[in-house]
């Protein structure tokens, strides 16, 4: 693999051990994928996970004197101060979140603690070369904006942020961005929730190929596209898709496939939606809580919840996870007051897959996100998956149909 003089110096330790480690990882990744050279990146997002390995690695880079050349936005951990008010947090978990915050601050990350950087604070332009980890972020960056990123590991994205480089391979190259599987959507698409089902059922049909959708509405909301990408890249490994007439690399069917024939054609029907919903959702009945925000809710979604809770009282706990910016907007717009009065919480900087939810373990909840239900399985949380509207209604009644 060809390296510039500066890149060689990074690898040889001229800029310290931390930078050398980061460059060693990137060279290894590059060689694994047959990259011929590095490219400069202008943006990065690191899916900090607040787990031991994550912390060990970022602290190792910090000890080696590394700071980020391109300051990345970062994923949520959990909001220690908020949860200490309402529940018990283990001493060990408190320790690890404090060390995580300190390490990412020391390495020079932009402390957004939010998993939808593509909607606020880290929005790329068409064609921009970037390094994003986080399953809902990579498809949005690639597909909706037409910027370029591989499906980075949290660690490889951090190495890219430190060195300002990433190996040139995969989805950074034109030839790998062409569509491979034609997905004809015959199912009726009524609202944003249908994109959750669409995203979750497609990878099983398409496998590893880049899907190209036809038959979808021509003006989807940001939330619809956020849902689609998050579920595609959770149920499978799909960091790039195209929607004909909607996403920038697919003005026509022909353009989406780079003039070639699809390798495979699949059809998605209403029955597929029903089957996937039955497969991944628990059965209805009494519930103990409602949890939203995987990925973090937008202000428009928070507003929808607030309007449904106007003058109502919740029968069970209701939690909305969102960014600090969105929470601030929710305060200004009166949404927070409405939700709080009904007995609900809006918590910023927090992910549904964190050790702050002990009080919900072994309980049954409702959520709008299949991804939320998937990652909390190992925390022994059970979920019924419904639309936001149905979930809020269930939280008011204490049970779901």
């Amino acid at each position: 693999m060809y390296l510039t003089r500066e890149e060689k110096e990074m690898l040889d330790g001229k800029y310290g051990e931390g930078v050398a480690t980061a460059m060693k990882v990137l060279v290894g990744v590059g060689e694994a994928f047959g990259a011929e050279q590095m490219v400069e990146i202008s943006r990065a997002h690191v899916a900090l996970s607040n787990q031991e390995a994550d912390l060990w690695f970022v602290e190792k880079l910090v000890r080696g004197g590394a700071t980020c050349k391109v300051s990345p936005t970062v994923n949520p951990g959990f909001n220690l101060e908020y949860f200490q008010e309402v529940t018990e947090i283990d001493r060990a978990d408190e320790e690890i979140i404090k060390r995580t915050r300190a390490a990412y601050k020391a390495i020079g990350a932009t402390l957004t603690y939010n998993c939808t950087p593509y909607l606020e604070k880290n929005v790329p332009r068409f064609g921009e070369v970037t390094a994003y980890s986080e399953s809902s972020a990579t498809p949005y960056i690639n597909s909706v904006y037409g910027a370029r990123t591989n499906r980075e590991a949290a660690q490889s994205a951090l190495c890219a942020a430190v060195t300002g480089r990433t190996p040139l391979y995969g989805f950074l190259l034109d030839k790998n961005r062409k569509g491979q599987v034609l997905v004809e959507v015959q199912a009726e698409i009524k609202d944003d929730f249908d994109y959750q089902m669409l995203g979750y059922c497609v990878p099983k049909k398409t496998g590893h190929g880049v899907p190209v959708f036809t038959g979808l509405p021509q003006n989807p909301s940001p939330e619809a596209l956020m849902n689609l990408g998050a579920q595609l890249n959770t149920a499978g490994a799909v960091p790039l898709y195209h929607i004909v007439g909607v996403t920038p690399e697919a003005p026509t069917l022909e353009a989406a496939f780079h003039g070639e024939e699809p390798q495979k054609r699949v059809v998605v029907t209403d029955q597929d939606f029903q089957e996937i919903k039955n497969a991944i959702s628990s059965e209805g009945g009494k519930i103990d809580f409602a949890l939203f925000g995987c990925p973090h809710l937008t202000i428009s979604q928070v507003g929808r919840v607030a309007r449904l809770l106007e003058g109502k009282e919740l029968a069970v706990e209701l939690w909305l996870c969102t960014s600090s910016l969105t929470k601030e907007l929710a305060k200004r717009m009166g949404f927070w007051e409405t939700i709080r009065r009904a007995g609900g919480h809006i918590v910023e900087d927090t992910c549904i897959d964190q050790p702050c939810w002990h009080h919900l373990y072994g309980k049954k909840g409702v959520t709008e996100s299949p991804k939320c239900a998937y990652y909390t399985k190992r925390r022994n949380m059970e979920f019924v998956i419904r639309s936001i509207e149905d979930c809020v209604e269930a939280a008011i009644k204490g049970e779901v149909e």
Binding site: V25, A32, A47, D54, S135, R151, A154, S156, Y375
Partner: protein, 140 residues
Amino acid sequence: MTGQPAIFGCHKISGGRAQGEALVSTDDICFYLVDPNSGKVIEKGHSLEGQSIAGKVLIFPSGKGSSVVQADGLYQLSLKGTAPKAMIIQYPETVLVSSAIIMEVPLVDQLEPEFYQRVFSGDQVEVDADNRTVKVIRQR
């Protein structure tokens, strides 16, 4: 009875050299679903379910799992001394590749099809990533 060692070329992903007992998996592996204390695969329905990968030369198609859980899984195994000694894969993906390099576990790919016909769980295998060779010493 041991036979003549067979030597194959390979492509280095993560450097280093190690010898150990081969363990062949037909399924992709997520190290988050391996018990760090015993090294045993705990994923239901996995072709290695219940078997220990500790100290083995692990031969499998590819990694799977989200960007963070794979690294944490391999990290926990390394911490407890139950990580594989080396890994041989067919389909590299970024998350597994960066995890292996960070944890300094030798990892190679691009073995010829004959390798997969020759190697069985229980064989002694030496992976020399730096010299791009894999040696199989038949144990049966």
